[in-house]
Subunit: 259 residues, 2 copies
Amino acid sequence: MWVIVLTPDHFMAGVSTSALTPPQYRRHPVQRPRSEGKRLLIVETAMRHFAEHGYHAARMSDIASGLEIAKGSIFQHFKSKDGLFFEVYKKAVRSFPPYLDAPAAVLQKGFFEILRYWLARTNQMLQENWVPYRIYLIGNYGTDLVLRREINRFLVAEDPYGWAAFVHYGVSRGDLRSDLDIEMIVSILEWTMDRFQDALLTEALDPGLFRRHGQVLEKKEARIQQFLDVLQRAIGTATAETKRPSTNPKPREAKRKQR
Amino acid sequence: MWVIVLTPDHFMAGVSTSALTPPQYRRHPVQRPRSEGKRLLIVETAMRHFAEHGYHAARMSDIASGLEIAKGSIFQHFKSKDGLFFEVYKKAVRSFPPYLDAPAAVLQKGFFEILRYWLARTNQMLQENWVPYRIYLIGNYGTDLVLRREINRFLVAEDPYGWAAFVHYGVSRGDLRSDLDIEMIVSILEWTMDRFQDALLTEALDPGLFRRHGQVLEKKEARIQQFLDVLQRAIGTATAETKRPSTNPKPREAKRKQR
DNA sequence: CCGCTTCCATGACTTCGGGTCATAGCCTCC
DNA sequence: GGAGGCTATGACCCGAAGTCATGGAAGCGG
């Protein structure tokens, strides 16, 4: 009944196109090298700018002058500011490691220990690599709904964290309940992990962006433990083992019974 | 080490001030009636506009002409577009019912049944009242990070859904685990409920904004059930009862044993 | 009833930044 | 070396947020 005004499909036509248009150059079978290289340069510079200033405060002219090219040139590579940011966002997100990219030793320990591994590394990874994380943050919470829509489509399509594979791994190991829709498990994980990591991250990246959790590193370990405990109960099988490594556990073999 | 560029405290000075400045009028003890009334009118009109067009596409001039006043006038009431939207957002969010505002009959049934009650009503409430919900959506995902920051501060301060009280209620009834930090429970709930409702809502409000969950009403009931089941395991006590009302249950009394 | 003060509405004006376009240069291939 | 089409350029446009000097209205003291 009400009118939803969202610019329809053709909105990001420029963006998607530029991403999907391989070489439609004349009859050259080879792709023009310059073009791709330039695009990449622009994306890299733009990423820094967006990360430093946020989406709205970033100026196309600054990005251009940072590259010592004309503003207009950027618009020949990327249809719009939105389009450029979208490319930046994709690049940033693609640089994140999938969950299953943990060391073999960690992989063996099972689903929740893998989660713990990544959560514990969150801070470190952030500090080594803050730019893409900030882009991720900006993309998720600091743009227009229209762009957000496009971003979500991308996330669904690419699943950069590899949730699907990871959850299947967990289910096949018997670490995760098999009586739930996979979809539901993935959703729950995405939602909570995103926000939990945001909470961990933004204490450093953007204090005050997210609610609560005022404490510092001391409690961090404990918080992660508690969070994993909750998750384990929610979607894990009742082996009740990964849950509390009371002090520091060793009995980790029985777990391999593979459901 | 890296530079976080966020306009500092004085950023929304105009906004906060305008909200916090009661009557500093001359020596009239009474507040000027005109001013408040006008502010309200503007906020109401602006809310419709923002809801219909989104944040960026909403034009201050349209809002003004919708009210048949000059654009400049709006800027005398609200320092900026951001400021106006923030007021709109606050008004929208304040109009939502707290969780504990369920009918007494529902309240008796315990924490998770209250959740179920509200989830089941989500669609209905949306349709009766889509404007503030859309404002909520826009505020959460469709603005700048700077604004988002302010919004979060507001949400923390006001807790419009009354999570704190609601969770305490749940704990005191023995519906919720008491071995977790209250903070953790509240966070988990906020995160998942927000997103779950978003998923339910945006199917209607903004298809494609959120990931997955393609199905329709048929499955909705089942999804709610599954979601509550997961939540129950995660943060609920093991009374294991609220969980599965197998078909359509009647035995709802035993629950009152109050832990 | 008159001047005075304070608030408020006005709309023309400024500023600023995203996006455009005609033009010129350049590269590759024939 | 000529032709055809990519690509860079920067002056330009346009739209929208935000400003400001002005005039008017409403209350107050006398």
